[in-house]
């Protein structure tokens, strides 16, 4: 029977200011970016940045709870592979990510609906 390597996934809640130093730190520990995504939970936006280690199969996730206005720094300077993830978050959820290395400016998927998965704004006149 083959050896099974399956450590528990770990999750840390952080603030937007901590994102860059934390990313730097986890990168020096030999992790690679596995995925990044946004989620809409009760009118708040949750950002998850998951990093995976190829030898220990560990998955560590940073969680930022934010809204559409707060500025989130881009991690593309540290992890170039994050370009598409950040563009996707920006386009679908309207997350305010600043200084993406290759910013598609909401034209990654080129959809007609503006940020389709973002919190519903009350219509004018209501």
């Amino acid at each position: 029977m083959a050896e099974v390597i399956c450590p528990e996934n770990r999750l840390f809640e952080i603030t937007p200011e901590q994102l860059l130093p934390k990313t730097m730190e986890i990168k020096t520990r030999g992790f690679r970016l596995s995925q990044a995504c946004a989620a809409l939970v009760k009118d708040q936006i949750e950002l998850s940045y998951s990093f995976a280690h190829d030898e220990t199969y560990q998955l560590e996730t940073f969680r930022i709870v934010t809204d559409q206005e707060t500025e989130i720094p881009s991690i593309t300077e540290i992890v170039p592979a994050a370009v598409f993830y950040e563009n996707e978050m920006k386009e679908l959820f309207g997350v305010n990510i600043k200084m993406i290395n290759m910013d598609y400016d909401n034209k990654l998927y080129r959809i007609e609906v503006e940020s389709p998965m973002a919190p519903k704004k009350p219509k004018e006149g209501e």
Partner: protein, 152 residues
């Protein structure tokens, strides 16, 4: 038929399908199902194609691509919508980025149902398309002939 039938060339474009119908279309052209025995040939060039196989629904970005490919094809032409997504939009109909089936952008002649459409169904669609293409070409030829006579 009595005379030599035409040998239409086939162009395949993936609208926004899940890939399932696309690989079944390709599987149709490979040895086991071998749709080429009906006299068709696969091509990648819209300017030389006669039958347009489209899979998947149409979304806001590829709407113009589909239209352009259709316009580039010489007349007469036949359009076959393969799979339920190309017919109506399928399971993705309610998605925010889907406009509907292929017929929301271009006129479709033959609808092949299925998710993913089975090779047998696709072959059936191709055979029907070949017959329809023959009919349209004959019509076209007759029209050209009549015009020539009238011009003289």
């Amino acid at each position: 038929m009595g005379k030599v039938a035409r040998s239409p060339w086939l162009l395949h474009y993936d609208g926004s399908s899940c890939n399932g119908c696309d690989i079944e279309v390709l599987a149709c052209l490979t040895p086991v199902y071998d749709a080429e025995r009906f006299g068709i040939m696969n091509t990648g060039d819209p300017l030389q194609a006669d039958i347009f196989l489209i899979t998947g629904g149409v979304n806001t970005q590829n709407k113009d691509v589909v239209k352009q490919i259709y316009d580039q094809m010489p007349r007469p032409k036949v359009v076959v919508a393969v799979g339920v997504c190309a017919c109506t939009g399928g399971v993705f109909k309610e998605c925010y980025n889907i406009l509907g089936g292929a017929d929301s952008v271009i006129p479709v002649d033959i609808y092949v149902p299925g998710c993913a459409a089975r090779p047998q169904a696709i072959i059936d669609g191709i055979v029907k398309a070949v017959a329809l293409f023959q009919e349209r070409s004959d019509e076209h030829d007759a029209k050209v002939k009549a015009e020539k006579k009238g011009g003289r």
